[in-house]
């Protein structure tokens, strides 16, 4: 189990902090540059990158067992499943008339 005990050095923590600061500055700067619909996409890509860096280094997932790694990944997979099903529902609501409303509309 000794291999699980190597935790990051202070240098790694400081580099992670510097990376997070640069990404914060980048997301604020890029919000004021007009890129249409891509503004939202870029903001979310930067936020996901920051979150991943925090999880991997500050939360030690990189230095933990494979079981923990799988556990964390499965948790976020279920978050994505939740988003996908909710958005699939809302996005497709206008596609088909419900049977009841169809018969009402031809009367």
């Amino acid at each position: 189990m000794a291999e699980h005990h190597n935790s990051p050095t202070v240098g790694i923590y400081l580099s992670v902090f510097a990376t997070l600061m640069v990404l914060t500055a980048l997301t604020v700067w890029v919000a004021f540059v007009d890129m249409g619909a891509y503004n939202d996409l870029i903001a979310m890509v930067i936020a996901c990158t920051k979150a991943t860096v925090v999880i991997v280094f500050f939360m030690h997932v990189k230095y933990s067992s494979r079981l923990l790694w799988l556990f964390v990944a499965a948790g976020f997979l279920f978050l994505l499943i939740m988003f996908a099903f909710i958005m699939a529902d809302y996005a497709s609501r206008g596609w088909m008339e419900a049977p009841g409303s169809y018969f009402l509309s031809i009367q």
């Binding site: 189990m1 699980h4 005990h5 935790s7 990051p8 202070v10 923590y13 400081l14 992670v16 902090f17 997070l20 600061m21 914060t24 997301t27 604020v28 919000a31 004021f32 540059v33 007009d34 890129m35 503004n39 939202d40 903001a43 979310m44 930067i46 936020a47 920051k50 979150a51 925090v54 999880i55 280094f57 500050f58 939360m59 030690h60 933990s64 067992s65 079981l67 923990l68 556990f71 964390v72 948790g75 976020f76 279920f78 978050l79 939740m82 988003f83 909710i86 958005m87 809302y90």
Partner: protein, 223 residues
Amino acid sequence: MADHAHDHEHHPYGLAHQFEDTAQQKESVLLGMWSFLITEVLFFGGYFATYLVYRTQYPIAFTEGSYQLDVKLGAFNTVVLILSSLTMAMAVHESHKGNKNGILRYLIATFILGGVFLCVKYVEYSAKFEHGLVPGLAWHPHGEHSPQLALFFSLYFGMTGMHALHMIIGAGLLIWLMVKTARGTYTAEYNAPVEVFGLYWHFVDIVWIFLFPLLYLLGKTHG
């Protein structure tokens, strides 16, 4: 159990009797904390899904609402919270060495930075009350606005309020950790509470990493 005294000869400090060794105990503790954090991820996920649904339905109202938020204060708080994550990571780092003064120093730094974050949040909330942008309590927005503007502010207060509640609970837990650290409870062998609280604090940081762009940075190019 005095009659099992021989069992205790090689019994490491802080090891509960149901575990084989400290490594197994640590693995179980971390897995348990992550189980809780994943329920928290899905709990906040409900807020984010609600945001996503209404944002796609009423993009104009959300952009209008975002104009009313102060990007400078939001960015300042992002920096403060990430800095507090760094000090918390350092506290965990010191706890692995069993350095009591080191842990205490970084826990105090984390507590102060958390306090700064909450003070800025208080200033922001007060401004919203003054400007009549609090749905249900003080709702009288000036000028032309979308009828769905209240939806944005309901989500703003719901999401940042729940985040702030997590920070307040975190600050309370930090006080408890500081007392225990000062008493010398945590050593190089037994420091799980510091490490587990670190995970919680970083999780709260991650929530804010998403809240900041989603609430503060919408449609800045059209202003």
